[in-house]
Symmetry: C2
DNA sequence: GTCTATAACTAGATAGAC
DNA sequence: GTCTATCTAGTTATAGAC
């Protein structure tokens, strides 16, 4: 395995667990068993390393997401909100075949990126991968045309919050659930539980 | 104004904006216009300062929350989920009279605490203020008795995520909304929008 | 490409004068 | 209680040998 990949693999685990601010280059190079200077040689800076970690996932995810969302938007029949949100399942779970615990790691990274570093990652994603956001909004509009653009804006952000926050604490939540309810849960189980929740939230009666 | 309060006021603003990890004691004492050494003199450590910032809000909030939730639990009639979540509005908005932008600041701090510092704040709140959590669960159960304990666990965490994440990026969201929809929104407006969303999510059809 | 060594800086915490 | 000065340990980043 190349030094570059060793760094990426170590970085994504630590970033997901402790956040971007909370992880030092020393921890990354130590876990990856490479030299400290290698990060700056291969990536230039910590900020570029963060982008590279996210890009490795987004480059797998975004074409698959665009494909399923495009299909939904082009269908003649009106999709349900459950169908729209369920469209994310297969592309997200694909990350597990691409990498061990890939789905969970990616979603945790997403959560970190939205709260750490004052929105830098939000800017990076919306500017680098805008098609996904556009298609998603279109699909939701098709499923629920009565929802005004303003109300949709708020509800999609609430949804983003639910997903991102849940995933950034998935490990802890799964641990508690297994302890309290003696039930095995995995990331797919969490995703299947959260979809009815967010679909119902987006479909809620409109505030007068 | 006392040095102690100058530090608390400066700290809560910076913590809410940049997170606990992302804020240095030097930034705090500089904004508060007090000496660097004063933090350790008055609070002992940065960790204790974080607790003190949160406690100042929780000590105002928790008795009010306990009171309204208790009232709901003791009523003879079954409350709706909207009523249960709406019970939070008055105590949360009270923080605005207690301090300028208090509601927004507190909710942002809560959001930070759940993602920064690997769950230390979650531990602090659940161990220091357990009654609020217990009463809230009881109230939700009364409003929706068919929901199993396990399903409730997940949905309440999704709800927590929605609230906390939304609030930790409220300022950015309110700015975007005002730009895109030419509509003034304040923290009370966001709270009133999020309640139907989370109430519908918790009330969603149960997964088979 | 990979290493050591170190520069340049920032962090939290504290000793001790006043 | 408040200050200056400083300690120790951490950070990112880089220069230069191999």
């Amino acid at each position: 395995m190349s030094t570059k990949n060793k760094i990426l693999d170590a970085a994504e685990l630590l970033f997901a667990d402790k956040g971007f601010n909370g992880t030092s280059l020393r921890e990354i190079t130590s876990l990856g068993e490479v030299n400290l200077a290698a990060v700056n040689y291969h990536f230039g800076s910590k900020k570029e390393l963060i982008k590279a970690v996210m890009s490795r996932y987004m480059n797998e995810l975004s074409p698959r997401l665009e494909s399923v969302l495009n299909a939904l938007c082009q269908e003649d029949t009106q999709p349900s909100l459950i169908e729209v949100f369920s469209a994310f399942i297969e592309p997200l779970l694909y990350l597990n075949t691409f990498k061990d615990n890939g789905t969970s790691t990616f979603l945790q990274l997403l959560g970190r990126g939205y709260t750490d570093s004052q929105g830098f990652l939000r800017w990076f994603l919306t500017t680098q991968y805008p098609e996904v956001f556009t298609l998603f909004t279109q699909a939701v509009h098709k499923a629920y045309p009565e929802l005004s653009a303003e109300e949709m804006f708020w509800r999609l952000h609430f949804t983003m919050g639910t997903i991102v926050f849940t995933m950034s604490s998935t490990d802890a939540l799964i641990g508690i659930a297994e302890n309290d309810f003696e039930r095995q849960v995995d990331i797919a189980g969490v995703i299947k539980r959260v979809i009815p929740y967010v679909a119902a939230g987006v479909a809620a009666p409109i505030l007068i």
